[in-house]
Amino acid sequence: MDHHPTNWGRPRNDTVDPYGTYPIHQRPTNVPKDAFAAGIQHTQQPIVTGTSVLGIKFKDGIMMAADNLASYGSLARFRDIQRLHPVGEHTVLGAGGDMSDFQYIQGILDELMIDEFAAGDGHTLGPAEVHNYLSELMYARRSKMNPLWNSLLVGGFKDGKRFLAYVDLLGTTYSASTLATGYGSHIAQPLLRRAVEGREDTLTEDEARKILEQSMQVLFYRDARSLDQYQIATITAKGVNISESRKLETSWSFAEGIRGYGAQTQ
């Protein structure tokens, strides 16, 4: 029986003592458990993470939203980061998951766009090309058992066509007129579908923005890793526009009169 405080309330795990709380004479040993444990171990967890990204089609293009938070476990560690990244003239990449991997992807795409620019052949990469490139990249990395720990949305507008698609750490891709990653895929996606599906060609920019604002609000209410500071990206024939950081309007005053959790009245 292990009575040490480190193990109160959880099953014993001798290999981990992250807080260094074992007295030195009974510190856990970290011997490999089997013949394979000493082999190459890649980081199999995200560390500094972003939460949901939302994306919808509307009349003139694509609109995306993501908050400005990068969490460290449950600590809201960085509250001013950008998770919507412009890629060239026609595309925006939105990322949830590990932020260091996202920065790495940004670097790769930036270089890709410079190569394209330097070629100077009059061609530019659009959202479909960027998305396909990312799907190959993500799948190649998962096949090396060393994935880039992200769920990504690629939104864009080029040659009169809207584009919105998803790719994740496994290289899985899909496309729809409304998309959401992470918590958003559970909470916001049904709301987005109800508001957008069948109306992709009539929704105005203002209506689209309203829909995303409402979904971001619900996510802020229900996602414990979210923030009320967020940005909206709009991609139309006019190009890419990523808004300044804006604050969600939330409502709490109704809670003032709530008493107890049932029969209590005062």
Binding site: R10, T15, V16, D17, P18, Y19, G20, T21, Y22, P23, I24, R27, T29, N30, I40, Q41, H42, T43, Q45, P46, I47, V48, A70, Y72, G73, L75, R77, F78, I81, D98, M99, S100, D101, Q103, Y104
Partner: protein
């Protein structure tokens, strides 16, 4: 409930800088600071460590995590920055130093446990502070705090620091702020302690500051509100107690 995330697993017997570190930008410089405790488990391997590490004339880093890892990384960055200044004939911008740290931490994230704050002054942007947490991301901040194990240590003082954010304060109040925040963290975090070391980095130079472990700022401990001892009744020796028969 999701299980607690195991951010770091030190190898058996590995020395840990389990640490309170921070850096704060002010109008014309940065103040960086750290405690001085290095531990193996709960044994203090070094009580007077210097975690403020020179990587170039006006660029320093605060190291947290494995002492061996962060020293190795800082040594390599120091080498690259010497190379940079020789090749370009100018001192490296803080961003350059931070980027090299970031690359090493990102590309070797599987084998490193290193949380590093890079801070300094350069002629392009003046004072700046960069945070490079465990996974190897790069984040510029007006002030940064760090330390591993990150969760308990940082939670205790992220709140304190946030409330007292200094963006363009003066040198002296920034030094006081860093000193007080570190002392507060050290008082609560078992893996932090010892002395406070600080550096003020400006265009003019780097100034070292030191607060000995027996002269740390003291904080409210709560003893005052607990019932004060009752006034002792002192008997007047002149008054003879009544003899009870």
């Amino acid at each position: 409930m999701v299980d607690r995330i195991d951010f770091q697993q030190l190898k058996s017997g590995e020395v840990n800088l389990g640490t309170s570190i921070m850096a704060v930008q002010f109008s014309n410089g940065v103040v960086i600071g750290a405690d001085s405790r290095t531990t193996t488990g709960s044994y203090i391997a070094n009580r007077v460590t210097d975690k403020l590490t020179h990587v170039h004339d006006r660029v320093y880093c605060c190291r947290s995590g494995s002492a061996a890892d962060t020293q190795a990384v800082a040594d390599i960055v120091h080498y690259y920055l010497q190379l940079y200044s020789q090749q370009t004939g100018a001192p490296p911008p803080v961003h350059t130093a931070a980027s090299i740290f970031q690359r090493m931490c990102y590309e070797n994230k599987d084998q490193l446990s290193a949380g590093i704050i890079v801070a300094g002054w350069d002629k392009e942007v003046g004072p700046s502070v960069y945070n490079i947490p465990l996974g190897g991301g790069l984040f510029r901040q007006p002030w940064a705090i760090g330390g591993t194990p990150p969760v308990p240590a940082q939670r205790t003082y992220t709140g304190t620091a946030t409330r007292r954010t200094r963006r363009a304060g003066g040198r002296d109040e920034t030094v006081e702020f860093v000193k007080n925040t570190l002392a507060l963290a050290m008082s609560r975090d078992g893996s932090s302690g010892g002395v406070i070391r600080m550096c003020v980095i400006t265009e003019e130079g780097v100034e070292r500051l030191f607060v000995p472990g027996n002269e740390l700022p003291k904080f409210w401990t709560g003893t005052e509100v607990l019932a004060a001892p009752k006034e002792k009744v002192v008997l007047d020796p002149q008054v003879a107690p009544m003899v009870i028969e």
